[in-house]
Point group: C2
Chain length 314, copies 2
């Protein structure tokens, strides 16, 4: 138990953006570069191929290509929790298997999200089938609770059944509901369960309540500000750091998230390729993009991030 | 225009159920048999691999295998409008291409349904990319409006833009909203557009208002009752026939649809394999199944259908 707990993924994770070519194909080289940059600039780990990574807009082959690109580039795969969910059982199995094979620290699974109001039995059956078909004791499954997009919540009874049936495999959850009371309840119900907040807004609160950290879209940009919160979470200073971090997050989340983050990355890295998104996602309109950059530039805590970018761009 | 109109898919279509083996793999032979039975028992055409066909629970390879099984079995593919949608652009392109290659009369496309409140531009871009990448003048695209499940409506402005950009390709729509006023509006806005009702409850109303027929889940069972409504739609007698048809439909739709239809098929065909569903869908509980069968058996118009079954089963 102690050794398993010490191995438990913890800290600041980014839901890595997926870069696309003009032809809207994923760009594995730029993806790997983004992963490396994040690990060198504040991230303890990475959760690519989630909502932020536009994974549901990608084919299974695309997803596996990106997982394998990360693995073969020598990145530390134990720090990876790739998204592996799909409405299609066979696809969820295939991507989860690829994640495990690549040595990933975990796999993040959405519930099947097409049919509405599925029964708890139906969801239990889905996750059970994935676990049994993957059939690999190395699998650490993270459930992905994001009812605003998946429309299918991961409930306390479902988690309880899965943990009882697959102890050691059902390892944690990403709570992207934005509802802190839900996260707090999960932490109370399931002590030791690896609960990540879906936003760095709740990073400090989550750590202090027994959670393991955050897996966030916006840490693609804010990782250097999130890191000090994580390092100082037991100190009083953490509160000021969290406040500064939250300020940036709240600005970013007031725009369509994938588009806003790609906009900022395109500036930080001086690479317009980051503006490519798979439909139905679209880049920000020019006026929105200018407004966003103006709001971020006005924040003192963003100077280092944008300044580093400016230097890189120069 | 006249010849194109005469070639336009019309009449009673079934959203064909997908049969699964115990291992939850699609069963192409039983699928082809179901297609054949439906065409011989009241269906003018077939729309497999939709919501009823659990297509979003299937991999792309599964879907293409079933399309190719139908084509290679000698079934008349011009009568087929397979579901080809996906959240993933590359997957939608792949399945649509396979449908066209197989000689299908059309392809039925859901909008990408993971991201919520996508912009009209984003949806236009998605369907445009599919059409351009498939790049085949034989493609007849049917838009699939089912906001209760997809959460993404197909709006009048979007249809207008797509029809203007791709005349002759954007051929029609399946309206599964259950909202007759929406269907009526589409028929007024777009005369000649191939609008199918998503339920045989509106078959007569749709035909009389200028629509082309229905693509329905429950016609897997009710096709023999829907056929006479279609044949008599210009006669007064059609109203009584529609009433009798609607009575059955309303019973069926008061249960989880895929499970209810598979229950009835398992009885009609005396084949328990039909009870297999992909999670998160689950079979009806025993009590629900008995209740459903009792309600159907009590209807005089179901005697021939269930009787034929009983004979077949005997």
């Amino acid at each position: 138990m102690a050794s398993s707990a010490s191995m438990q993924p913890r800290g600041v994770y980014a839901a890595v953006l997926t870069p696309f070519t003009k032809e809207l194909e994923p760009d594995p080289a730029l993806f790997v570069a983004q992963c490396r940059w994040l690990l060198e600039n504040g991230c303890d780990g990475l959760a690519p191929l989630g909502t932020t990574g536009e994974a549901n807009s990608l084919s299974v082959d695309h997803r596996i290509t990106l997982i394998e690109a990360a693995a073969s580039s020598g990145l530390p795969m134990t720090k990876f929790i790739p998204g592996a969910g799909s409405c299609a059982l066979a696809d969820a199995v295939k991507v989860t298997r690829a994640a495990v094979k690549a040595g990933s620290g975990g796999a993040l699974l959405l519930p099947p999200f097409y049919y509405k109001n599925p029964s708890e039995d139906g969801l239990f059956a889905f996750f059970s089938e994935v676990i049994q078909r993957v059939g690999d004791s190395r699998l650490k499954l993270y459930l992905y609770h994001f009812p605003q997009l998946s429309t299918v919540p991961i409930t306390v009874p479902l988690i309880g059944r899965l943990m009882a049936a697959y102890p050691g495999t059902v390892a944690g959850l990403k709570d992207s509901s934005g509802d802190w009371s839900n996260t707090a309840r999960l932490l109370k119900e399931f002590p030791g369960f690896g609960v990540f907040s879906g936003s760095e807004e709740f990073l400090l609160a989550n750590l202090r309540a027994g959670g393991v950290g955050c897996i966030s879209a916006s840490t693609n940009v804010t990782a250097p500000l999130a890191r000090p919160v994580y390092l100082a979470w037991q100190d009083k200073t953490a509160e000021e750091l969290q406040k500064s971090l939250t300020e940036v997050r709240l600005i970013l989340q007031s725009y369509p998230m994938q588009a806003a983050l790609k906009q900022v990355c395109s500036i930080i890295q001086a690479n317009p390729q980051w503006l490519n998104l798979l439909p139905p996602n679209r880049p920000l309109a020019a006026a929105q993009a200018s407004e966003l950059m103006a709001r971020l530039t006005a924040l003192s805590q963003m100077q280092a991030i944008l300044g580093k970018a400016a230097t890189k761009a120069a």
